[in-house]
């Protein structure tokens, strides 16, 4: 066996250096399905997610950014859903429902279940 011992410190140094050089994610990229990726001002937020037809779900078990797409895709494909925003650090998922024939509470609960995550609670628009 000829273990290339120099690779170990090199790999560790590369790993640590890469970590230090990684810039934080840009807030300019909005992870909102159904609308173009762009900065969301408070007014735009209110337009994208009007209070009278936005459901809010609190989801547990979103282990990483990949998980965001799992929920995002499932909800975006659901009939009666207009757009979705998943907030990974808090697990808060906002779902703007279409005005006519909006998705029901049962539909949203099932989507989270199919996604393989735990729904902590859900608030439907009044």
């Amino acid at each position: 066996m000829k273990p290339p011992f120099m690779i170990v410190p090199t790999a560790v140094a590369t790993l640590l250096t890469a970590g230090c050089q990684t810039a934080p994610p840009s807030a300019d990229d909005a992870q909102i399905s159904g609308v173009p990726s762009q900065a969301q001002s408070p007014d735009e937020e209110a337009t994208a997610f009007p209070a009278d037809r936005t459901a809010t779900l609190w989801v547990k078990g979103l282990a990483c950014p990949y998980c965001v797409h799992n929920i995002d895709r499932q909800l975006a494909e659901t009939t009666g859903v207009e757009r979705v925003h998943v907030d990974l650090p808090t697990g808060k998922v906002r779902v703007a429902l279409v005005a006519d024939h909006p998705a029901t509470r049962q539909q949203l609960v099932k989507v989270i279940d199919d996604s393989g995550f735990t729904l902590d609670r859900i608030e439907m628009p009044r």
Partner: protein
């Protein structure tokens, strides 16, 4: 399958981790108890380069191999995932220092068709979870004789994952029942321990989150012919909501091999895309 073929086939197995870890915040060379959502598809492509050697009375052999593994992951439900590994050995070279001969070859190695079934899930925070999955399937002799075991080999195992904050721990054990005869007949236990740390960011962004993980893994192999091999595998992984890029190097820390060549190191890079 020749002894050289065995090292190449096993190197492919190391890289695929028996194919069940195509998900995010997942170790690079071992398994994870995470699954894509129902209807979700992940395509993973890996490239590996392996160097090894075999000492024999006929002369020492230096072995190099390059391989690519395509993995398809499809989730049937929130609990059941299907995984298909298609390894292709792009090239290999055997150099006999004594005789000065070279040889090259290429072809498909054994296909692996696996299922992963979730038995336990405890999501205890927005980004925290603990899960346990059963793994079962077959390795199919779809490749050339040189890289194939020529037998349908059942695979059975389990994987546990605990992800909390910036830390992730994964442990798995996979047993491959080799139904082939002779030297090919050794069963294989593959076992892994992995730790991942989220290097950046400290807290996920609310919009379009990304993350950089550092990984350290222990990847062990035991065959019932008493061959033993243990690797330490540092790695790095960049994760977005749709794709992942990753790199690793695997270094042997313990080798007790009598039936195949030793691997000096394995370098792997790869990417995953989910749809």
């Amino acid at each position: 399958m020749t002894r050289i073929g065995r090292i190449i086939a096993l190197s492919v197995l190391v890289m695929t981790g028996v194919g069940v870890r195509a998900h995010a915040q997942a170790p690079i060379n071992s398994n994870v108890a995470l699954q894509p959502s129902k209807g979700g598809l992940i395509i993973r492509q890996q490239f590996r380069y392996t160097e090894g050697e075999q000492v024999s009375p006929m002369g020492d052999l230096d072995i190099e191999s390059a391989s690519t593994i395509t993995t398809l992951v499809y989730s049937v439900s929130d609990k059941l995932t299907l995984i298909l590994d298609t390894p292709f050995v792009l090239s290999r070279r055997i150099e006999n220092r004594t005789m000065g001969s070279d040889d090259t070859d290429s072809g498909f190695a054994d296909l692996r068709l696996l299922t992963k079934f979730r038995l336990y899930r405890d999501d205890f925070g927005p980004t925290d979870t603990a899960r346990f999955d059963l793994i079962g399937g077959f390795e199919l002799p779809a490749g050339r004789d040189e890289f194939s075991s020529d037998s349908i080999d059942p695979i059975l195992g389990g994987v546990f994952s605990h992800i909390e904050g910036r830390h992730a721990f994964d442990a798995d054990a996979i047993w491959k029942f080799n139904t082939g005869g002779g030297e090919r007949g050794a069963d294989l236990l593959k076992y892994d321990l992995a730790y991942l740390y989220r290097l950046s960011p400290e807290t996920y962004a609310s919009t379009r989150p990304t993350a950089l993980f550092g990984a350290v893994e222990l990847n062990g192999f035991y065959e019932t012919n008493s061959d033993n091999e243990l690797f330490v595998s540092p790695g790095i992984q960049y994760v977005t909501t749709r794709w992942i890029v990753e790199a690793t190097v695997q270094l042997p820390v313990w080798q007790d091999l009598n039936h195949r060549a030793e691997r000096d190191f394995i370098v792997g890079i790869g990417f995953r895309v989910q749809f």
